[in-house]
Amino acid sequence: MEKLSFSALLRFVLLKLARLGLLLAAVSAAAFALVSYSPIDPVQAYIGADVMRVGAEQRAAIAAYWGLDEPPLARFFRWASALAGGDMGTSLIYRQPVADVIGERFWGSLLLMAAAWLLSGVIGFTAGIVAAMNRGRLVDRIVRWYCCTLASTPSFWLAMLFLMVFGVWLGWFPVGLAVPAGALAAEVDWLDRLRHLALPALTLSAVGIAPVALHTREKLLDVLDSDYILFARSRGESGIRLVRRHGLKAALLPALTLQFAGFSELFGGAVLAEQVFSYPGLGRAAVEAGVRGDVPLLMGIVLFSALFVFTGNLLADIMTRLIDPRVRERGMPK
């Protein structure tokens, strides 16, 4: 009765793949269009301080070398066909294949985002449950106050606040960079890494707690008002065990969906946090690529982040189907 037929699963996968293809095509076209209207001259950005020593001829040579002398549309199609062959191009500023730059930089970001994601998820969910179980009492009011305050605080401002309080005044955490400046890679141990990760991850998760907590609280309150909770109570169930048996699964669903669907906010937040804390991840690479007109790298990161956000939404979708029997039964395809 609940078994998924193979053809339904296949249809689900094909549908999602088609959607992903369309998304990536649309995103890259839009990003390329925006970049080609950017006032930044990539050659100028590339030359940088050497501007006095580089003549017009050399400039033209550089432009030709990068293919910058062609019209934007031609450049787009050249980029796209190379991409179709698996080549994401070469980064202008790192002078490395874009795939390598992303591969290297992504691990730093992933660590940061994973830490923030887990922290905000676990803390937000717990806070939501505790608030709902104590509706109207002090804990509930504190949780709601926190969430509302955080929701109206710009995250870069919070990042700077954390930096000042914990990094500068209290000196608990280093102020920037993923590793101590000038240290050899081998000397960087895990503890150091963690210490550098702490502030950006905390900032990022502090913002992420609010939506999870509020949605969890809302959902659990609905459940607690339901007929089936009344029946469970009539059978002597109460307190934490009642919530664990009848409320957790139901409350987990919106929380997980929200967390997975929130990959875009997570990525956006990471870009900001990496900038403020000079944490070398993909976000900082994106900002540099934008500022210095590194089109291949920027496009690569845009595509990669689209893929990342898409994956989050896909996971949210699958999660919903796995947990809720009512949705599960309707089968995989929407």
Partner: protein, 305 residues
């Protein structure tokens, strides 16, 4: 065993922001159920039957205001006693599928807090008794028909070893045989020494198993009578509404009573049945009639004798 005296329930609501108004739903209800007795509470939809059940279980919503006294085995049925009795001596069979956890399979749901193989076997045998196939144990509530859901709910009471069972409309949606089986199960519980409060709007079905019947109208008990007094033209019945209910049945003439049941708020200071009463007399204007004892039963009417 269970005694309800002067139970009134109202809901506090804020009107216009600050003024609090109480909307009454049950008014001055007196009932008692002995061990081994099955009392049917009949009344049409909206007369407050479910709220009566929830009030006894101590599970009314937070904005409910409760007055009166409910006692069980001679002791006041307060929160601390309820905490000991719920899930053990006291069982509620609620009204429909919405009382089942949508994310929990039926078998697990029937088990409740019980664990172990013996308990699982009991679930299986009780399910079989009510005509629920073994597959039903693995089903989620949304996959059950209304009748199947009620069977699962009835099973929970038959499983738990309760001494007092409140069943709120346990049979609608079941096939006639299963409905009869479910009512029979309640009768057997009573014969085994349980007190049973059967709440229903189906007076015909209730009479097959009940010892006594209490008729609820607009949040009030208007009559309690022995089940056997519902017979013939209903002339031994005490209250005109009971008689009207009886005569509205297909077998007894199918004479429907015109008009609709008022809300308790509209009839706070007069007989709640006055607007529809075929025998209303001058003395009926004297205010709300009290529930008084009459010929072994009770009636809330100035005129009845």
């Amino acid at each position: 065993m269970l005694e309800i005296a002067g139970l009134s329930v109202s809901f506090g609501q804020y009107v216009g922001g600050f003024r609090r108004r109480d909307i009454p739903v049950l008014n001055d209800v007196d009932l008692d159920v002995d061990a081994g007795e099955l009392l049917a509470v009949v009344g049409s939809s909206g007369s407050g039957k479910s709220l009566l059940a929830h009030a006894v279980m101590g599970l009314l919503p937070e904005n409910a205001v409760v007055r009166g006294r409910i006692s069980y085995g001679g002791r006041t049925l307060d929160e601390s006693l309820l905490r000991k009795l719920r899930g053990r001596e006291l069982a509620l069979v609620p009204q429909g599928v919405s009382y089942l956890d949508p994310l929990l399979r039926a078998g697990k749901q029937a088990l409740g807090r019980q664990r172990g193989l013996a308990a699982k076997k009991r679930v299986r045998s009780v399910f079989r008794r009510f005509g629920l196939a073994e597959q039903a144990e693995e089903m989620y509530p949304h996959q059950l028909s209304g009748g199947m859901a009620r069977k699962v709910l009835v099973s929970t009471a038959a499983l738990g070893g309760a001494r007092f069972v409140i069943a709120d409309e346990p049979t609608p949606g079941m096939e006639p045989e299963s409905a009869a089986e479910a009512l029979q199960a309640l009768r057997e519980l009573a014969d085994g020494g349980c007190g049973v409060l059967l709440i229903t709007h189906d007076i015909e079905a209730a009479l097959k198993v009940a010892d006594r019947v209490a008729v609820l109208y607009a949040g009030e008990v208007v009559e309690t009578a022995a089940a056997g007094e519902f017979e013939g033209t209903g002339k031994v019945l005490r209250h005109p509404y009971s008689r009207a209910l009886w005569q509205a049945l297909p077998a007894n003439g199918f004479r429907a009573l015109p008009g609709v049941q008022p809300s308790p708020a509209e009839t706070a200071s007069c007989c709640s049945f006055a607007a529809r009463c075929p025998i209303a007399a001058q003395e009926c204007a004297a205010g709300k009639p009290p529930l008084r004892k009459l010929r072994g039963g009770a009636v809330r009417c100035w005129v009845a004798e």
